[in-house]
Symmetry: C2
């Protein structure tokens, strides 16, 4: 299928019928002015649809999951919402009963500020773990954000800024494509930076099968004006997240707060994509479903890659492509072992094509590996022209200088072929730098600097 789209401005407010806003309300209680939409970095965002939306979401599979996740899961399960309220600076995680009360108060404050019924709001939080929310600041922030809502790219940018923690820049995207001849838009914002190796599911909490599991909080909020039934939306989001946000790692630590939410308000007026839509005929509907999936895959993958590129201290981004595994579980385990090996990640930082460390990590992974079958090579990002350093377990004639040149770019692909089967997996990974260590060792003389 050929998927045609164009990039547009405005991320989450690019789709019709959405407004957004972001303000500073001093969640970290630094003592500076509250409720301003100027001044210090914003820390409270609202994303609002003019009409009720179909809603879908995926949440961290960490067993320790934050109050906003616990509040969102049953709300999203109902498949409908109209507003998302998000704060940075405090994760509202490990905050016990008070945390649950506060998260519920947040959604009610948002619903009240916007004159929406109970159940209309979803919530996300990111920042420090183990500290209860400053509810006075939350209240004033939500009221202020409700007062500055709008649909310009600036409004979206303010929301994108408000959800940032250690991110160095806001992360936004929007595209336009056609469903049944009508223009439809899909946009998103996200944040990441550290404690990043999401493994999200629809229900959150303990997964049926635990992910190889490692992550900083990542949050992503997506909007579309497509008309689509909630359960179709959820299936589409699961597929998109499985191949994007759940395939990234910065430091292998999975957060207590990872959340992806998607609101679809139907304002574009396309023929509604419903669960009853036959995949085969009438063919036009199957094509529309495939088109929407392609759009969602693209937006999620681009946002996920932005998180890795802006990971704490990250200098190089490496796409680890494992193929030829016996099972997907093997391919996944092999890719994650390499992507999270401290020795492999430091060698990437050093521009060192150290295949010894790579095959060592493959060997201790849970994947079945046969030394005499392993191929390891490098290519430019997205290229199929591979420079092999190892074929069938034996070093090739590639010189050290040639291999160094292959791993010198700030983005490159690492190709690992196990040659045992047909399963494959990709991880979007990052190097490990002195800057990551320096940033995360924190400054104990300034406890507010110590993030979750």
């Amino acid at each position: 299928m050929k998927f045609t789209f164009k990039s547009v401005e405005g991320s989450i407010v690019a789709p019709q019928g959405f407004r957004a806003g972001g303000v500073f309300c001093d969640i970290k209680r630094l003592g500076t002015g509250k409720g301003s939409n100027k001044g210090p970095k914003r820390d409270m965002a609202l994303i609002v649809s003019a009409v009720p939306c179909a809603a879908a979401g995926l949440f961290t599979t960490n067993q320790i999951c934050a109050a906003p996740v616990k509040v969102c899961v049953p709300r999203v399960a109902k498949g409908q919402a109209q507003v998302v309220v998000v704060n940075s600076g405090n994760a509202n995680a490990c905050t016990g009963r008070q945390g649950m009360k506060d998260a519920l108060a947040m959604v009610r404050l948002a619903e009240k500020a916007l004159n929406l019924p109970d159940g209309a709001a979803l919530v996300g939080s990111t920042g420090r773990i183990g500290v209860t929310l400053p509810m006075e600041n939350i209240r004033s922030g939500i009221e202020a954000a409700a007062g500055v809502l709008g649909s310009t790219p600036d409004h979206a940018a303010h929301a994108a800024e408000a959800i940032m923690t250690s991110d160095s820049r806001p992360k936004q995207i929007a595209i336009e494509f056609r469903l049944g001849g009508r223009p439809v838009r899909l946009g998103g914002i996200c944040k990441g930076a550290g404690m990043i190796q999401p493994g999200m599911s629809v229900t959150g909490g303990r997964p049926a099968a635990a992910p190889a599991g490692l992550h900083a909080t990542m949050l992503a909020f997506l909007t579309t004006d497509a008309a689509i039934e909630a359960r179709v939306l959820r299936a589409a989001l699961q597929e998109a997240v499985a191949n994007s946000f759940n395939r990234i790692t910065v430091d292998g630590d999975m957060s207590t707060n990872d959340t992806v939410l998607l609101l679809a308000n139907g304002v574009a007026g396309n023929e509604r994509l419903s669960a009853g839509t036959p995949r085969a005929k009438p063919p036009i509907r199957a094509r529309d479903l495939a088109t929407f999936q392609a759009a969602l895959n693209l937006v999620c993958l681009e946002l996920a890659k932005m998180i890795v590129r802006d990971g704490e201290g990250v200098h190089r981004v490496v796409t680890v492509r494992v193929s030829g595994a016996e099972t997907f579980a093997d391919a996944d385990a092999a890719a994650r072992a390499v992507a999270n090996s401290a020795l492999v990640k430091t060698s990437w930082h050093g521009g060192d094509p150290n295949w010894g460390r790579i095959i060592d990590a493959l060997g201790y992974s849970a994947a079945r590996i046969v030394e005499s079958k392993v191929d390891i090579g490098y290519s430019a990002a997205g290229s199929r022209q591979i420079l092999w350093s190892l074929r069938r377990g034996q070093p090739t004639s590639a010189t050290f200088k040639e291999l160094c040149a292959a791993v010198a770019p700030t983005e490159f692909d690492l190709h690992i072929r196990l040659n045992l089967g047909k399963a494959s997996a990709i991880m979007y990974a990052a190097d490990l730098t002195e800057h990551y260590v320096d940033f995360n060792k924190g400054d104990v003389t300034d406890p507010t600097s110590l993030g979750g």
Copy 2:
């Protein structure tokens, strides 16, 4: 049982009937003089008994295991040996058929140089992966080492130096204790530093159940003049390693070469500890077995801790004590998740008592965790006086300043109680520093600097 011992000098040559030697033979081919026992750091060691020994060994469970491991496993399985030959500077890993030929040539060269029969030698290698051994240097090194054997503490120290790679200092210990009234000695040397999270088994290679699995090469060579049957020796070594070398992690990367070898030559003349020895009666034999086990546990644990303390870039050593898990597998998974979390390790480096990152790591581990039951606290190393930061999932009244003071020492204990069952596990872990990253990113302008 009360175990009484005294420390003695000479590590591996402290037991009667053992000699050792270490020389420089330029394994890295830096071009400096070979076969000298002065000059650059030694890189070839021999440890020799005057008489045949009972032998036991444990080996990396990495599926990619080095040629010396493959050569040792079947030899050790026979339960007898008399000499160990070890080189640093080259791991002889991922070297294919040539690597196997070279490892076999090493044992034969050692046997020949000492006029010992085929099968008498065991072998260990550590250093760069994927480069074949310089056999001319190996040959001259073995011959030179055989010419400088002796039983003084200096001889042991030379061997301890010869097995070092990125270690900053040699690691040695020896103790004397009594078996059936006779004085018996047990000594050992080891090396570690990076690629350290061993998970060793008797057979090496793929384990029945893969370890949580993460490691630099660690090598340990132990000698004793106790009289003990090989299968008793093996069982004792398995127990000791399970509670020492297999409980340490520096960077979570498991090596292709991890090896622990133990030779027992019986020269002390104690009543032979045999598999036929009843554990219960006559009580004196059971007591001797228990005494030998206590001695071996102590020596292995002290050596294992030396590896963590001298890990690459390590500033702080943390003993992670998980208790109250439902199963040992849960306790082990919880302890390893915390011990290998990049965020937890950087917080230790920063002297930051960040329990949020600790409970986050517990939550994404494979262990079952209930947030409202978790206790997290700190004590001085080995102390039971615990300062709790979290009880039953709730922050205690301990102040940030008090908690910072608890994690300020270069060694402290982290206590995690899951309060779900009775299983426990310990990991001896290290912080993650800028120095580790700087060291391991290497220098691509000097490929000889790039270790395995």
